[in-house]
Amino acid sequence: MNLAQEGETRQTGLPVARALPLSNVSNALECIDVSKRYGQRWALARLSFVLPAGASLLLTGHNGSGKTTLLRLLATLLRPTTGRLVLFGQDGVAERATLRPRIALLGHTSFLYEDLTARENCVLLARLLGRPASEVDELLDRAGLAQRADQTVRTFSAGMKKRLSIAGLLLKQPQLALLDEPFAALDPSGIAEMEQHIRSLSRAGTTVVLATHQVEHGQTLCTERLHLSAGRATLA
């Protein structure tokens, strides 16, 4: 990761996090002076960093520091208010349609339909990806949900929903995996499995961005670290 030191607040009132963005297709992420505003509140303020393809970035920060906003921006689900995002050499806004097949997000919310079964949720994703539905059973087995595959998600605990979401992420085989609090709601064995999945993704060359408060877990899984504080980046 390439991150320069913070600068001072400019006349705009925005805090400044100066950086050295280098446009390069070997970078998975180039976040260039990116800000995001919700109403009057700046969730991210002039954030800049680059992350090489295949690297893994630990994103830390207090609640409300902008971690989830940054992940949703990187997932192309949000537009930056100002600045530019480049993912795999492509513009993160103008070319989001071509980028999305390469990106997966494990978010706070599960992205699941409560009234569909675990299998139906995965088959829906498989069909949209053009993948054979036969892959779903193997993934549900890997996620430890084979016994509950035909039960509706509404009957699942938060941990089981998290397991099902990771099954969906693995089905997609992304080049960029964005993980927002992946250990939340998981029991110890679930946490160990999640760590295993993240290591597998990294070994397969997937660029991983991991946001978590469980820094001890994250540090063993990531090569880079970025700390956010009130939407500003600091070297950790």
Binding site: F111, L112, L124, L125, L128, L129, R131, K161
Partner: protein
């Protein structure tokens, strides 16, 4: 695991229609609520218009479509509430599902629900107002199909807009009802002609207006829905 080829627009639409219909089937209580709401609306109209069967017969076409239109607000709003639970819509955007396929699928599923609703409440209306299908079931089916499409196309677009607003339940009818006036008039007139006969041969004109309305608003929805979803 093998790399796959994503489906084209029609393929994605089919996948999403199946998902929407499966969700409707799983939560049949919602469809039941729509039916009972529409039946209550028909009863209220018949009480409000009084016991005169001539007036009831004359108003039958409009009564049918007002009952469907009022129920559609519930159906359209609910169809996006399902997508917002667990941010499932974001999951589809990221899958990625073509936003135009999302529009087509959601609109078709809503239209099918409204057609079914119209079919279910039609016999009740016939009993209340003493009307019969003078022109036969074929023309009535055509009016139901075109009328349901007329509500579902722009309704889905506006439901997507309203779903992002705080006052969504108020916003949707405020946006939708004025827009649907031409379609409502055409559907009500065409339905009345099915009930009372068509000596002046006006039926095709009303159907033409309804079909034109469908074409314009489905095309607009197809073009605008991706912007609504992304921006």
């Amino acid at each position: 695991m093998s790399a796959g080829r994503p489906p084209n627009l029609l393929g994605a639409t089919w996948v999403l229609v199946r998902k929407d219909l499966l969700l409707e089937w799983r939560t049949r209580a919602r469809a039941n609520a729509l039916v009972f709401f529409s039946l209550a609306t028909l009863l209220l109209f018949s009480f409000a218009l009084g016991p005169d069967t001539t007036i009831l017969r004359r108003a039958a076409g409009g009564t049918l479509w007002l009952a469907i239109l009022l129920a559609s607000v519930l159906a359209l709003g609910e169809s996006f509430r399902v997508e917002q639970e667990n941010a499932a819509l974001d999951g589809l955007r990221l899958a990625p599902a073509d936003a135009r396929a999302l529009f087509l699928a959601k609109s078709l599923a809503n239209a099918l629900l409204l057609m079914l609703l119209g079919t279910v409440i039609l016999p009740v209306l016939a009993a209340l107002a003493g009307v019969t299908l003078v022109q036969g079931p074929g023309p009535m089916a055509v009016v139901l199909v075109l009328g349901a499409l007329a509500i579902a196309g722009p309704g889905t677009l506006y439901a997507a807009i309203a779903s992002q607003a705080r006052a969504r339940d108020v916003l949707l009818p405020l946006l939708l009802f004025p827009l649907l006036i031409p379609a409502l008039v055409a559907a009500a007139k065409a339905t009345s002609l099915v009930f009372e006969g068509d000596p002046m041969l006006q039926f095709r004109s009303w159907l033409g207006l309804l079909a034109g309305f469908d074409l314009v608003y489905w095309s607009l929805g197809f073009v605008l829905f991706p912007r609504v979803l992304e921006d």
